[in-house]
């Protein structure tokens, strides 16, 4: 049982949702946008978070969008991960998000919820980081489209009252050779030791990683070494992993040394997998 009460609102437009958020703030409330709501429900039960008003965005058609318009794919923040899997419009995202939680939970977990969540893995963001997608964010000033690499710094940097509406990805990125590898300590369900996502665009490998540090990241500092084709592959990977952007996690999932061991081998697997993908 969630030990506190909250009011529940289900607006039908983005404008209504952001207006509602502002109005609730003015009344002294602590509103939260609610998409799949799995973290709000489970963390709320444990008293890890508090809200006294939730704004469910699942009734907003823009947040439920899952369609190509011209050269771009628009995915709404309230689309569930299982819907993404079934539609399979973005195969790299399908592969990555289908490893999040389990099938039944993914009927509730949404794209926006996973990306904006408190649980730091946020693996659904990885395909968008390597694809250099854009995000549509709504605020009381209206909607704005911004590059995800500008907005996602460890987590999605939203101002109070801002709402993630959609993610926009160019078809060229969706069609690029790609791979997603999730390594767990054991079993086929659960959190990763690390997850690595890679795509090859114009001959250059782009990589994004979750589980290695306390936040998911696009491995911009590592990529020049990975793409230095003058060196042997093992050396490229060994040099690249010296440029991890933050402290490597050392916790019950894995020690930092083991994570680095897994990272090195997973990057080698990324190269091998992409070669096979390109041959196909």
């Amino acid at each position: 049982m969630i030990p506190f009460d909250f009011d529940y609102y289900k607006p039908s437009s983005v404008e209504e949702a952001v207006r509602l958020f502002e109005s609730l703030r003015q009344q002294g409330k602590q509103p939260m946008y609610f998409s799949g709501g799995t973290e709000i429900i489970t963390f709320g039960r444990l008293d890890y978070l508090y809200t006294n008003a939730v704004i469910d965005i699942k009734g907003i058609s823009k947040c439920q969008m899952m369609t190509f318009k011209g050269e771009n794919l628009y995915l709404g923040a309230a689309v569930s991960l299982s819907e993404i899997e079934e539609a399979n419009l973005f195969p790299l995202l399908t592969k990555t998000s289908s490893e999040v939680a389990d099938h039944t939970a993914r009927t509730k977990v949404t794209l926006g919820g996973n990306i904006c969540g408190k649980i730091f893995y946020r693996e659904a963001v990885l395909p968008f980081l390597v694809s250099e997608s854009e995000v549509v964010i709504a605020s009381r000033e209206g909607e704005e489209t911004r590059p995800i690499l500008d907005v996602f710094q460890k987590s999605l940097q939203l101002e109070e009252g801002e709402c993630l509406v959609q993610l926009v990805t160019n078809k060229k990125m969706i069609e690029a050779a790609n791979i997603s590898i999730k390594r767990r300590r054991q079993w086929d369900t659960g959190y990763p030791v690390i997850t690595v996502v890679g795509i090859k665009v114009d001959g250059q490998l782009r990589v994004a990683i979750s589980g290695l540090c306390s936040f998911p990241f696009r491995a911009k500092e590592m990529e020049p070494f990975l793409n230095d084709t003058k060196r042997p592959l093992e050396e490229r990977v060994s040099l690249a992993i010296r440029h991890v952007p933050a402290e490597v996690l050392h916790d019950s999932e894995a020690s930092s040394d083991y994570r680095m061991f897994v990272l090195k081998n997973t990057l080698l697997d990324v190269f091998e997998g992409l070669e096979m993908e390109e041959v196909r």
């Binding site: 009460d5 009011d7 529940y8 709501g37 799995t38 299982s82 939680a101 039944t104 086929d188």
Partner: protein
Amino acid sequence: MTKVAVTLNVNGEESEVLIRPADTLLDVLRENLGLTGSKPGCLNGDCGACTVIVGKKPMKSCLMLAIEAVDQNVTTIEGLTDATVQRAFVEHFAFQCGYCTPGFIMNVHSLKENHPEADGETIKSWMDSNICRCTGYEEIEAAVKSVLYGGQEHHKR
């Protein structure tokens, strides 16, 4: 405590219930409607003991607010009457203590409705959502396979 009156459609019947918006579907099914077939297990979306069907999809009722189920059709284990999956679980003795059984059955029933010809990979992906603490997985697997492909085993692993 502020309560709101909402109408839920559960097992084909409409019921008006007075709930807190913070109440989970699992709590309302059990406490307000007396439908205790959906079991509280981890309450964290991990074990699947509370699985029901919302619309046509399996749903962990501990991960859903009851208020989110307004205007949707909810089916609980009490809403199945001699379903093929239920019979298969009995015939294959696919339970030990039985606590996880309603959740397994609801998930398999939904799988059968959505993918009557599910391949091995799909079956595995769906069934990873439920945990049997007695580890009676062999019998559960046999029951699941018996209701897909009309009992013909056809698996890609």
